[in-house]
């Protein structure tokens, strides 16, 4: 009762019975206020869905769904525009695949090192240091990709690399995603029971064999979850690709060329002076809806995989 006493030191006697109705009322009011706070998160989801659906319907009144899904040209900002979302999706997938090709092996091996090899002391230093990578603002990575990685690659491995290209953006994005993959994989690896490792050691397996043939397969669903989460991050990542990948909406599988992702398109239109309510402006919501659906599906699948490895070992 320290609180009550501090609040009103005079009401020493009969404090428990006095104004119990008022206290009851206050308790109820506070509970309602707190529940309202919790509802804000639900309202946020409704808000996102409402805005996306509302503006996307406005877009599809003028552009047919079939053209949106099947056309292979994207020229939203030009006269006589064409809206083939496949072009933007391909740009998004290209940069995301490069990012995952970097982040999955590096992140997984780092997770193995942190959980199986590093001493507790080393781990306590390395984990936060790796997590700094996820805390660096993405605009900083964009600058780094454009002014350091691209010139570096041009002068060493890829002389024909254009200034804006999918490769640098994807590589740097991969570095950004390493902590995501490493930390979710490590949770899964950590959850593998000690008995499995000891059983393998007892059969004469070496440390590497235990790590690659026992621990990784046992933690596989968690590692899959980490990978899907990483892909979801890569697809939603914006500033690296907006700065370094070039904003050229073309259908290509060549990472040395410029591409435009869904996110970069939204930034390009929003930072220009496109009038609100115009067709081009509504386009960013149609693209946003596509992006939202893709990341939502990936997040749900990842969540299901995480739940599976929890069910097995916990």
């Amino acid at each position: 009762m320290t609180v009550e006493a501090r609040r009103d030191p005079r009401s020493e006697a009969g404090k428990w019975h006095r104004e119990s109705r008022a206290r009851h009322f206050r308790e109820r009011a506070i509970k309602i206020v707190l529940a309202a706070c919790a509802c804000v998160s639900v309202l946020t989801t409704f808000g996102i869905v409402f805005v996306l659906i509302f503006e996307t319907i406005a877009f599809f009144r003028e552009v047919s769904v079939v053209e949106f899904l099947t056309s292979t040209t994207w020229s939203a900002a030009f006269a006589n525009p064409q809206f083939g979302i496949i072009v933007l999706i391909s740009g998004t997938l290209l940069t995301s695949i490069i990012a995952i090709a970097v982040a999955l092996p590096v992140g997984l091996l780092a997770a193995i090192f942190l959980s199986e090899y590093a001493s507790t002391r080393l781990r306590r230093w390395l984990k936060p240091a790796l997590e700094v990578l996820a805390g660096v603002p993405t605009i900083v990575y964009g600058y780094f990709a454009l002014t350091f990685v691209t010139p570096f690659l041009q002068s060493t491995i890829f002389p024909s690399l254009t200034i804006f290209n999918a490769l640098s953006a994807g590589l740097v994005m991969g570095v950004m995603i390493i902590p995501t993959i490493a930390s979710v994989s490590e949770d899964a690896i950590y959850a593998v029971p000690r008995g499995l490792r000891e059983g393998a050691y007892a059969l004469g397996a070496t440390k590497r064999e235990v790590a690659t043939k026992i621990v990784v397969p046992a933690a596989l669903s968690g590692i899959v979850a980490a990978t899907i989460l990483g892909i979801s991050r890569a697809i939603g990542e914006t500033m690296i690709v907006a700065v370094a990948a070039g904003n050229l909406a073309q259908l290509t599988a060549n990472p040395q060329e410029a591409v435009q992702t869904m996110t970069a398109f939204i930034v390009q239109v929003a930072s220009g002076d496109t009038p609100t309510g115009s067709l081009t402006f509504n386009t960013i919501f149609a693209v946003g809806t596509t992006l939202f659906i893709m990341t939502l599906i990936l997040n749900i699948v990842s969540y299901l995989f995480v739940r599976r490895f929890r069910e097995i070992y916990e």
Binding site: T45, V51, T147, G204, T206, R208, G236, L296
Partner: protein, 306 residues
């Protein structure tokens, strides 16, 4: 460990294929290679981080000056400054904190201390963790649709308030999750002791749970706020301006922000603007370093007590 035993076991049947490789020398050599491989993989991220920091410091630090910090954007890269952007970021930070902290702590208190275990509660929980995975640019579209367009007459359209509310919703899931974890770490005996003395739920929360959860919740919240300072994409979508030649006068004013200024510099072709971008990044990173240091200091203080 019976590592050497496997070699003997295989001698009985030469035709019999086994998953066990008998040559321990090769296996130990591979072990050494693998150990080096996992160590190198762990270091790759840190090396890139070091290269990034050195590169930016080398490009940006010589460009830093008092004039850069107090100057306004200009068509001349040498005279460009980040003063309005720096102030815009501070405005955003303060309003985002004022909105997201009470909402986030309130929601966490409800979910952790009050909510009955029903489908509705579980729906809210799944919803919170799902919101944490929504790309930040989608929050920008939300802010554009709701705060800028729908509530434009109240928020002033593309104003600091619209930007800050968008960022507040963006970091809300992180604040909720951090606060819930801090509350969960408090033993139930604290709550039961309070109830046994006749305290109501709110009295227990205000007198005991909140003070005890504060450092943990604060650490997570500050980290979330520092993420908000570095966000660029949602602010571009809700209309932060790149070319602002005045200091923001109030919450309804048009504004710029540090990451927006950096994006503006970096998207210009001239070399001198790229250097200005690097200088802007140095300023941004120093701001982030300060906020993160506060968070780490709080965490260490908290851990020592626990």
């Amino acid at each position: 460990m019976t590592r050497s035993g496997t070699g003997i076991a295989q001698k009985g049947g030469p035709e019999q294929e086994s998953v066990f490789k008998t040559s321990t020398a090769v296996r130990y050599a591979l072990d050494l290679v693998f150990t080096i491989l996992v160590f190198v993989a762990t270091m790759i991220g840190l090396v890139v981080l070091a290269v990034l920091l050195i590169d930016i410091a080398r490009d940006g630090v010589p460009r830093l000056s008092w004039e850069f910090l107090t100057g306004f954007p200009s068509i001349s890269p040498e005279r460009s400054g980040v003063y309005p952007a720096l102030l815009g970021s501070l405005w955003l930070l303060v309003i985002t904190a004022i909105v997201s902290v009470p909402l986030g702590v309130g929601a966490a208190l409800y979910l952790q201390e009050y909510a009955p275990d029903t489908w509705l509660t579980r729906l809210i929980e799944v919803n919170v963790s799902n919101l944490a995975g929504v790309p930040s640019i989608i929050y920008g579209l939300l802010g554009l649709g709701i705060f800028v367009n729908l509530l434009g007459p109240i928020t002033g359209g593309q104003s600091i308030v619209s930007g800050a509310l968008t960022l507040a919703l963006l970091i809300l899931p992180v604040v909720i999750i951090a606060t819930r974890e801090a509350l969960r770490a408090i033993p139930d005996s604290v709550r039961e002791g309070g109830f046994a003395l006749g305290a109501t739920r709110w009295e227990v929360i205000r007198g005991h749970l909140l003070p005890m959860a504060l450092p943990g919740a604060l650490t997570g919240t500050i980290l979330a706020l520092s993420r908000a300072i570095g966000e660029t994409a949602p602010l571009i979508v809700v209309g932060a301006a790149t070319y602002i030649t005045f200091v923001p006068e109030g919450p309804l004013s048009a504004y710029s922000a540090l990451p927006i200024a950096i994006y503006d510099f970096v998207s210009r072709p001239q070399e001198a603007f790229q250097i200005a971008a690097a200088a802007g990044i140095v300023v941004l990173m120093v701001v982030l370093l300060l906020t993160n240091s506060v968070a780490i200091w709080l965490r260490n203080k908290y851990q020592r007590r626990g």
